[in-house]
Symmetry: C2
Subunit: 177 residues, 2 copies
């Protein structure tokens, strides 16, 4: 079944729920027989960005690289789902301009909530000064100003967030059902 | 028009004619309405491998990265055409195993012929010892032992080489016409 390619770009702080939503969305789209690739942290670290660190330059390179893969997939009719902190709006907007069929999903949650959850134990370390360049604590995060969807993972269920995303994809004509 | 994805992997020394053949093949497949992406040196250096050098480790990382993009494209029904020296058979075979629908094209020409052509002036420098780690001169090239196609760019026209490739793609059921 042929369908149009597009990119769903999840941005937000560590632990906000980007990968969870990306994986749910992937399942939903696969169930609709769509071609989907998820580019999340693990995939990217293994296959694209080994050796890159957390300086601004390395972060930008990492995000641009993910963006380029999204662009190539999108223009070939594949749905690319990226889940990356992607803290800088300039780079996100650059990717938006390149990809064209680009849906930005901001997964938002306040730092105190994320520090409370702290699934990977990173916020504790970051707040104690043990991790440098930790986005939202010791490194900037520039929140999107024109995201197509904003999910509030502190006060919505994942299914509510997923529905918001699917509705926007339908409105934009990317989904039929 | 849906078609099966596959990867055509051009390997061979610098100046052997990999990119020329890759671009001709791209044109031919596009004319048949197929989805095609060419991953050659320029694309890769710009989008995937900035910062990598010419040590064995960096070369392997570069080739694996191209191979991973080929794999992702192939499993989504896109034809990926890679043109990279890719000197080590171990890495090429690793990519072959991952991609599965993988057609290796060895573009062969003897060093004296390449040094005589020397389109980019690199052989002269390499033979004078001014470039280190130059494949075929001061760095190894492991010729494929089971390439699906071998093109001899010193004694075949590019159209003869292209026909050999297209015939193999037809035999393997990747092309209809």
């Amino acid at each position: 079944m042929e369908h149009k390619g597009f990119t769903v770009w999840f941005t937000g702080l560590s632990g906000a729920g980007k990968s969870t939503l990306a994986n749910l969305l992937e399942k939903e789209l696969r169930a609709a027989n769509m071609k989907v690739e998820v580019l999340d942290g693990d995939v990217v670290r293994t296959h694209l960005s080994k050796g890159l660190g957390f300086s601004k330059e390395d972060r930008d390179t990492n995000i641009r690289r993910i963006g380029w893969v999204c662009q190539v997939l999108t223009r070939n009719g594949v749905v690319a789902i990226a889940a990356a902190i992607s803290p800088y709006h300039e780079i996100r907007d650059e990717i938006r301009a390149n990809v064209k069929d680009f849906v930005e999903v901001y997964v938002e949650a306040p730092i105190p909530v994320l520090a409370e959850r702290d699934v990977k134990g990173l916020y504790k370390k970051a707040l104690a000064g043990e991790i440098k360049n930790f986005t939202g604590v010791s490194d900037p995060y520039e929140a999107p100003e024109h995201a197509e969807v904003v999910c509030h993972s502190d006060c919505e269920t994942v299914n509510e967030s997923l529905d918001k995303i699917l509705n926007v994809l339908r409105q934009k004509g990317y989904l039929n059902s």
